[in-house]
Symmetry: C2
């Protein structure tokens, strides 16, 4: 089947599928006119990739997951490890964003947001000495 069909069925843009071929995630054959020819299993694989990417797995993670997926003898521990590492990265990212959010929310709340020029947000950015959110540890 052609790339357009595969795009529709897998839910990935054709551009992305070409890119995935570029980086070796899929290897479609070519027909006489140069068009990529995909198998049904490629649609499956691409949808798998789409879902893994939607869960935030990196391309390299995906490469590993695909490999494990295609190896029916793999140990589930290997998969779980990749997932747990990713989970941990997500947790770190969430923690980082929550801290950012707290600092920023404090500043936003402190700012009148009216016609006057006085602004605690800029004041804080300009001089961390009087920060409203200093880290006590670290």
């Amino acid at each position: 089947m052609n790339i357009g069909d595969v795009a529709t069925r897998s839910g990935l843009p054709a551009k992305t599928i070409r890119y995935y071929e570029d980086i070796g995630l899929v290897k479609p054959l070519r027909s006489a006119n140069g068009y990529r020819m995909f198998h049904a299993s490629d649609v499956h694989k691409l949808a798998f990739l789409g879902r893994a990417r939607a869960l935030g797995f990196s391309i390299e993670d995906c490469r590993g997951l695909i490999k494990l997926y295609e190896d029916t003898d793999r140990e589930s521990a290997e998969v779980k490890q990749i997932a747990e590492e990713h989970l941990s990265r997500i947790d770190d990212k969430i923690a980082e964003l929550i801290e950012m959010r707290a600092t920023l929310a404090t500043l936003v709340d402190a700012c009148a947001g009216d016609h006057r020029p006085d602004c605690p947000i800029l004041a804080d950015l300009a001089s961390k000495q009087q920060s409203l959110h200093l880290k006590e540890t670290g």
Copy 2:
């Protein structure tokens, strides 16, 4: 003052400072030997940028914030608006990550993670036709 000093005092790598000059965030003069010459105010500005970046503001946000910072007649409402928009983006990102985390945590919990090949994580990625497809079809 030379770029090395500025890097030390502002806390930004020299590479980053050169990049910031490239994109017009700072405009140091040049001495006879071609070295960049920074004012004390540049150190201040770069530290400002570093803190804004640490709060997750984009470079374009920073450009706006710097401009507002240097305009003593600006209305705090303008600053607050930029900050609130950013806060909203942070909230969206946090929500997205928390949802990802929940899905992934469920899968990780369901996976034995032992020597056996059976893995709910891969099973889910391989055939979850409906849930992650909803945003495109509905």
